[in-house]
Amino acid sequence: MEPLDLIRERLGAAVPGAAIEVVPNPAVAEQSSLRVDPGHAVAVARVLRDEAFWQFDYCSNVTGVDWPEAILREPVRLRRLINGVEREVVSIVERRRPGCLEVVYHLYSMRLGHGPLILRQRTDNRVDQVRVASLTPVWRSAEFQEREVYDLFGVVFEGHPDLRRILMWEGFQDHPMRKDYVEPDDYEYEPTPHDDVLVKARRHYPVGGGG
């Protein structure tokens, strides 16, 4: 499989107007990924699947990731004049990272045996614009997994044939896998008598819960 930059150029040529950028992966596995804008995602996916030398005919994994708003502190090397002498200083620069919901696709080619190519789609924010293009028309394996991301993260997939909650029951309101999800305290909880569990249980079962 060629390096990501080559794939990026070819995809850019194949799908004009698609904003594709490489997202580096610092881990040892060096599985970097390509970020695609939701508008052109389906076209890029179709090219990746049908192009002869790629043939990514198998979408193995669709994952939702929640990136809440965060202040990132990164050490940056600066050359600054300190009392007249030019010296290297490492200072912490704070950068505000806007919150967003991200969907990650791991693509493999069963026919040619290479992969994984990792596609990422990001939503604009975590509150109202949570729309992303669904890749189910291209790979049927994404159907259930996209429904699960919709159910647990709240990402709306446009073009999904049957977007309903898959794991939680219909009446459930919230999205449990988000980082800021507060566990409801009201559902039937088995009181075991020790420390915070005990406290929580006492609120529920004032009489019961011995020990």
Partner: protein, 419 residues
């Protein structure tokens, strides 16, 4: 329509495709997706015949409390007589939000929870998680630990396939006998796991960079004895039902899955190889030390339930071959990478996706680490959950009895489907 309608109406409840000679009624083009029609059998496709118009459909929900849904799994079935018109699976009855649990505790704390994913194959779940973390942190695994992992995984594959064959034949109606033979062999394998890891099903045995403890003395001889007896069990199974006319009639040509639909719908494992696609992660991904062992990958030609059944029997024979080679070649040496830390294990920031050939298909773990002690994002790619995508395509137009056998053929475990 010809005069035979009233007579057929009487038996219409069974609306059998090939009961009566070719009725003169106009064969109405079937509404189902074209590639799911049974290619092999010569009978007219059943769905076209069953469109009679009068009499509304029967809406039944199979499960979650049903004898053959492999756990708490519900299927909303719309029946025309006994023929399935629409089939919607409903999940979530065993949903424990396993991924949130994984993100709450440390990397080590998530390991015992992976036993509870596919509770038939806890050792392959452990290995998949350990594989992903080793890919994330870049840990090497010593030689002896790799051999132990291959032996444990192949033993798990044998007992999982044995269980599946037992359940599938139980659903086809052979009450109790095949499942008891399968469980008799499974008990021997579980005793091996208990003497090795301490627990029969919830092993929690692999660690990042190797195994938790070494093989107890005499375990390899015991394992060799068990593996030596497996072929006898497989022959007994093939004599019992493989060429049984009733079973062949019940499973051949039923639930045919075309190779194109299988690949596109992400079906993996024996179900995919039964449709003729040569994709086995042990050969494709070259993880662990599988490239040192000589074993073959059985491929089906028709992609129906009979092929899925036979592929699993043949895979068990291949696993026995691997086990013989691995047990012969296991070296002495350390079983845990000295660099791997048990408690405060903090991999560098980044992400990794590790996957392996679990008995049910491709089991993958996707981990995003932010440098802290617990994973930022802990995602499981469950094979049985995604294999169910094609359940409706296989069942529409067939009898209710076929739908149950097809569901049995796909081999799902609800712990892994609902997570």
């Amino acid at each position: 329509m010809n005069g035979g309608l009233d007579e057929r109406a009487l038996i219409g409840a069974l609306s059998t495709g090939d009961l009566m000679p070719e009725s003169a009624g106009a064969a109405i083009e079937e509404q189902r997706p074209p590639d799911a029609s049974p290619s092999g059998s010569a009978t007219r496709s059943p769905a076209a015949e069953s469109v009679r118009g009068e009499g509304e459909f029967l809406e039944v929900s199979l499960g979650p409390h049903h004898p053959s849904t492999h756990g708490v799994f519900r299927v909303d079935v719309v029946l025309d007589g006994e023929r399935v018109v629409r089939l919607k699976p409903v999940f979530g009855y065993l949903h424990r939000n396993h991924e949130k649990l994984g993100e709450r505790g440390s990397y080590l704390a998530a390991m015992p929870y992976t036993d509870r994913l596919d509770y038939f194959c806890s050792l392959t779940n452990n290995w998949a998680y350990a594989l992903a973390v080793e890919k994330l942190a870049g840990l090497e695994v010593p030689e002896r630990a790799e051999y132990i992992r291959v032996i444990a995984a192949e033993l798990t594959r044998v007992q999982n396939h044995a269980c599946l064959i037992g359940f599938l034949l139980q659903e086809a109606g052979a009450m109790g006998t095949p499942i008891m033979y399968a469980f008799r062999e499974r008990e021997k394998v579980l005793d091996l796991f208990e003497s090795l890891t301490g627990a029969r099903m919830m092993c929690n045995y692999f660690r990042f960079g190797g195994c938790r403890c070494d093989l107890p003395p005499g375990w390899i001889e015991q394992c060799r004895r068990v593996v030596a007896e497996l072929p006898r069990f497989l022959d007994e199974f093939e004599n019992l039902l493989a060429t049984n006319e009733i079973l062949m009639a019940r499973t051949q040509g039923v639930g045919v899955l075309s190779a194109a639909l299988a690949v596109n719908a992400g079906v993996t494992g024996p179900n995919l190889r039964a449709s003729g696609v040569n994709y086995d992660l042990r050969k494709a991904d070259r993880y662990g030390i599988y490239d040192r062992f000589k074993f073959r990958v059985p491929l089906g030609a028709h992609g129906d339930v009979y092929d899925r059944y036979m592929i699993r029997v043949l895979e068990m024979r291949e696993s026995v071959a691997i086990l013989d080679q691995a047990l012969a070649g296991i070296p002495e040496g350390p079983i845990l990478n000295p660099r791997s830390r048990l408690r405060s294990f903090r991999p560098r920031a980044g992400e990794a996706y590790g996957r392996l050939e679990a008995p049910k298909g491709e089991l993958g773990f996707y981990l995003i680490s932010d440098g802290s002690g617990s994973p930022y994002r802990y995602r499981i790619r469950p094979p049985s959950f995604i294999n169910l995508t094609v359940l409706e395509d296989l069942c529409v137009g067939r009898l209710l009895q076929d739908a149950i056998v097809i569901l049995g053929g796909i081999d799902i475990v609800m712990g892994e489907v609902d997570r």
